[in-house]
Amino acid sequence: MTSISPYFTNYNQFPELIQSALLVVGICLISLLFMYFYLVLKRVNRVIRTGFQAKWSMEINQLLAELLADDDLSTTQCVEKYTHKFKKLPINRKAIKLIVEAEIVRFHQQFTGKTAEILSGLYVALELEKIAYKRLRDSNWENQVHGIKILAQLNIKQAAPKLVALCDDEISTLRMEAQAAFLKLSDQAPFRFLDRAREHILDWHQLVLLEVITTAQDLAIPSFSQWLASKNDSVVILCLKLIRQYQQFEAIPNLLDLLDHANDEVRLLAIELLGQFEAYAHESELINRYKTANKNEKLAILHAIGQIESGKQLGFLQAQLVDDSYDIVIKALLAIKKHGTVGEELVKQLYETALPKNRLLIDHLSDHRLIH
């Protein structure tokens, strides 16, 4: 101690640089001690918490397993019986209440039908939804998301009105989760967010929304072509994907309008859909666009013509085989091949007269393992 005491007693006499260095030394020492202490505390805390959680989870799991086996009772009777049993647990303690909530949610994720209904009923009967509602009012958006996810998972329909404001939130993750939950829980205008969306709906959000929409039970599917004129391109893209999902053929006239859309992705999706819907009557419109189209559009048009499979455009497809682009030639050949036996015959003829380069392409395409 005596060897370092001069550093303290003579501190003011040191040059400024050395004073600063001593200050940094002090800060580092305090920070290190704090971090060591914190790491130890965190580990100890984790061990205690894990033990506590394991003990109560086991007890709660046993009750829930009992509930699953009790299949003679009606949903209401079962909820009543087990509410009574769960209330014997010290669920007024917040930590235990949270474990009960987590276990009910975990079980709910694995069941559908009556069991899922009972678990949701039990959740409400134990007034656990109050925790979720409290989370919705939290100032941290991640807690709000947590609340939304639980309400959506347990299908608490009464929560829908509380989600309306969050569907327009400026934090994109929160907004998306609220929209997804609203779709699932609301019986009235679940797609209202498509009218109101001003922000770009990210690809990730589209994936989540598509999954919710396609897996939700009892969701009334509207005609998505009503949003194809939206000024928000991402809404148009999402709706095009939904039109494809639900095979809404009545959207074909709207798809034709979208061929002139300013957004590349919208135009490509519109072409793809025309092909997928085998829009025979509009094949010539696609051909007319081909010359002025960019490469991606050309590929999409060739693919669409292959899908439409009218047989009228084989000459056009054959003409594309002299293109310099590998992708174009491959797509044109594939489109020809898709024309059933006529196409297969034509490919055989082409093989006889083709240059070695194109012969290899035809060989490539005749191996189903390489076709994409």
Binding site: P6, Y7, F14, P15, I18, A21, L22, V24, V25, C28, L29, S31, L32, M35, Y36, Y38, L39, K42, R43, E142, V145, H146, K149, T173, H200, L202, D203, W204, Q206, L207, V208, L210, E211, K241, Y326, D327, I330, K357, L360, L361, D363, H364, D367, R369, L370, H372
Partner: protein, 446 residues
């Protein structure tokens, strides 16, 4: 010192945001969606007959629906290809190659007769090095995203799902994503999968664990926050194929091909005047064996130093070039001064110090203060990154591993840092001597 403090701060913000945003993400959404982007996994292999079957098995079992695995046999002289053909029931197919990137000649493309392995494609080509093999893999690949990996790395099951998400979840186009690479020495590995994480048994490997945690959780996360990343580790990186092809693919003339590709991709995007992002995520997704003996480590670090210098030399027009924004004004100069020049400046400082010590013009009391400050500052930053790891993924679960990590953080500046300095100097000398070799690492197994 202020710079490192800022990096730590930015890293903490970035990690916190990432963990908040992704804490409750259900990655199954990407797994099951037909709208998810396709991923081509490119794994170059050179003389890896002993482990190739297990490695490919591990790649084929990654959780991702729309994926293909392309193994590129880069002219191996052992039984790498023969083992693959025999085990996966492969046969040669007529593949029409679309040569978008130059590469050494292709000898053959193989597909399995067994539909179970429909996702697997094996290429056989003349030896041209890792970069050349990856270029050939890109030519063959069919999906829009390419995952470039080292065949001997172990990827977490959900690695692709986590790497793909930033591509879908950003308002600006993402051109590349990297994840944290961890050290797999002494870890338990079964059938190509990581079963249990342990701290390595050797001292050298333990120092590298600390070094990797600090580099990834502090350095790269901070640069990701700034959108100033100059490197995505060659061990694992997911890229936008169009941009990779647009900028000319991997450069086969450098040993720092991973950094060079990122630099060129960034320059390409600037030249195209397109907004973009390069992202690092803190998830520990890739496990690799690090050198556990001094000579292997010397060769690896020597290559890294030469790779850095080659990349900096190849792209010297970026140096304080405002045309390239943050890339030219901050990222490149940082690498120039802190990654290349730092060891040289440090050695110069040591020489000056020795001279001053001999001439008796050193105030030893002040010297002690400065040395203690530098030492404690380094240890504090390292401990902070260990704290980051503990807060986020806590891969080292045992208390004794944590204690060892903290202990090695205390030793690192005294024992390991001088080695790093030595590697840096030798790498510099070899760069000026024109050394180009890759330098083999003796793999001892996990």
């Amino acid at each position: 010192m202020i710079g490192y403090f800022l990096l730590a701060l930015l890293s903490a913000i970035e990690m916190r945001n990432y963990l908040k945003k992704n804490a409750m993400v259900d990655y199954k959404t990407i797994l099951v969606s037909p709208h998810a982007p396709g991923v081509s996994i490119l794994a170059p292999a050179f003389n890896e007959a002993a482990s190739i079957i297990e490695n490919v098995h591990s790649l084929l079992s990654l959780h991702y629906n729309k994926a293909e695995v392309i193994v590129i046999n880069d002219g191996s002289t052992d039984k790498t290809l023969a083992n693959l053909i025999a085990h996966y029931d492969l046969e040669a197919v007529n593949f029409a190659l679309n040569e978008q990137l130059p590469s050494k000649p292709l000898r053959g493309v193989y597909k399995s007769k067994n539909p179970v392995y429909a996702k697997l494609t094996v290429l056989d080509k003349e030896n041209g090095g890792k970069a050349d093999a990856l270029n050939m893999g890109i030519n063959i690949s069919r999906f829009e995203l390419i995952l470039c990996i080292d065949a001997d790395c172990i990827l977490e099951h959900d690695a692709i799902l986590k790497l793909v998400k930033p591509f879908l979840d950003s308002s600006r186009p993402v051109i590349g994503v990297g994840g944290v690479v961890h050290i797999a020495n002494s870890c338990e590995v079964k059938n190509g999968h990581l079963v249990k994480v342990h701290l390595p048994k050797t001292f050298l490997a333990r120092f590298q664990v600390i070094e990797y945690i600090r580099a990834f959780l502090m350095g790269r996360m901070a640069w990701s926050r700034l959108n100033g990343l100059l490197i995505i580790s060659g061990a694992m990186g997911l890229f936008d194929k169009k941009v990779v092809i647009g900028c000319g693919g991997y450069n086969t003339q450098t040993v720092g091909e991973d950094m060079e590709l990122v630099l060129r991709m960034r320059k390409y995007m600037h030249q195209q005047k397109k907004p973009y992002r390069l992202i690092y995520i803190p998830d520990p997704l890739c496990w690799t064996e690090c050198p556990s003996d001094f000579s292997s480590l010397t060769r690896q670090r020597n290559r890294w130093t030469r790779g850095t210098m080659e990349c900096l030399a190849l792209h010297k027009n970026l140096f304080f070039n405002p045309k390239y924004g943050l890339l030219g004004l901050l990222s490149y100069p940082y690498w120039f001064f802190f990654e290349w020049l730092a060891p040289l400046i440090e050695v110069l400082g040591l020489c000056i110090f020795t001279y001053m010590a001999f001439t008796g013009i050193i105030n030893w009391a002040f010297f002690v203060i400065i040395i203690v400050m530098v030492y404690l500052y380094t240890v504090t930053l390292t401990t902070l990154t260990i704290l980051f790891e503990e807060f986020s993924y806590r891969k080292y679960t045992s208390g004794s591993d944590l204690l060892k990590l903290l202990g090695f953080a205390l030793l690192e500046p005294l024992v390991y840092h001088p080695m790093v300095l030595y590697f840096g100097i030798v790498g510099n000398i070899d760069f000026y001597r024109g050394k180009k070799s890759w330098g083999m690492m003796v793999r001892k197994g996990f």
